[in-house]
Symmetry: C2
Subunit: 245 residues, 2 copies
Amino acid sequence: MPNYPLTRFHEQATLTEAEAHALRGMGDPEILVRRNGTIRRERDPVDAIYLLLEGWATAAIRLPAGQRQIVKVHITGDMMSTPSMVLDTAADTLVAVTECRIAAVPLVRLRDVLIAYPRLGSLLLMGVQVERLALMDIVAAMGKSSARERMVRLLLDLHDRLAKIGAVEEGRFDLPLTQEVLGDVLGLTAVHVNRTMRLLEREGLIARHGQRIALGDIDRLRKISPLPPRRVRFDPVWLPGPGEM
Amino acid sequence: MPNYPLTRFHEQATLTEAEAHALRGMGDPEILVRRNGTIRRERDPVDAIYLLLEGWATAAIRLPAGQRQIVKVHITGDMMSTPSMVLDTAADTLVAVTECRIAAVPLVRLRDVLIAYPRLGSLLLMGVQVERLALMDIVAAMGKSSARERMVRLLLDLHDRLAKIGAVEEGRFDLPLTQEVLGDVLGLTAVHVNRTMRLLEREGLIARHGQRIALGDIDRLRKISPLPPRRVRFDPVWLPGPGEM
DNA sequence: CGCCCTCTTGATCTCCTTCAATGACAGTGG
DNA sequence: CCACTGTCATTGAAGGAGATCAAGAGGGCG
């Protein structure tokens, strides 16, 4: 599908030519954000959502007490900041982990697109539900499983998402996240992330060289993961068909 | 608003008369579910969402290893099971905590409503984003705060949600959840839930008699909570106005 | 009356945190 | 070219929040 890096709606349903075209035209001119650059800060007024055209970014919530919890690791093709579209001020801080190319979509333009192509609203709804499911799984993993299990789950999740965009070769992929960041994703300290990864490494389950990580025995890893991956339904019954809406 | 117990869309935006009417007509005839009854099980085929007309219910994910994590405590007026609408088989198990009145909305009917009233799709999107934010906050609380802080946050969250539907009187409300259930919500054991509540009680922050709980000093509790409540924007700019869509 | 569910409390254990020190490496300025 | 500095990974030792195991008490309901 030609519109790939802009959104991944085409993974979830068939799009008409007009809809695909509207999606492509939705974003502002692209912006380059350097490594560690802040894309949008918590409490900033919300007037756009962002398409991550290329790169890795994190979405984090900062607690009043000062800690930060990363609630989403974004990769190429993700939509960012959409939870904040129901708020006046942003819920999360978006930070570029690698250099990123992004495009903003002003909310007023989103409104025009929804009016002209209401089915894209339903597709957006679908994407949001997928994100919500991902969060439910994270809650389940955090509430009920060990550091080791959560780490394995995260690695498999990244593996599966990266595989979809062609960024995995035989179980190997780039993981540009420091152990500090991984800790803030998993709700662990960087020290314990290190111990956990070293252990997995010693067992031959993973291997690392620099930012490169290799999942050694994916089947065995999947048995360790506290939750299996979810399979999203293509073109669900409640979704109006192309042209029906 | 007359359609109150059916959905709470009117909290988020102005509805036209036709939209409100469509919402009211959406559900099947109501069903009574007895205490501890299962409304829908994980892995069941998904062909409807459910409106909780009255009562308390939990949405839980069961891990392959056998534990259960409750990902949402539903109260009167909530929509249930919508995350599963993007899946073939349900993600979560819905169980009635108290006796519940519910109404199913078959997905095919939802489809008809979305086609006839596309703006209701946008309102649904809004409600789902609110749920997603709630999950983000839960992840942040689980990752970065103590049992005590999480407990306080949960009580305040329930307090605020119940207050909106008029089920709170001067900080007092019914809490029909056992400590076992609270543990499965918070990612703690029932034993530790007990110790934590007893401590809060001894400090005069809460008081309990049977299922009734009273939040003693709400201001002090809010200072203990790791996250403040979120204020959802009414009629956001991206939401097409009544009649515009 | 007796059973089961829930709450409560104590004792012990353990996973993860905290604190601290060292090493590897990249970037930077002289 | 090399010292200098900051970031990140690694490992050890000690401490603590919460889990686990166990037992008793109260209360609703058959």
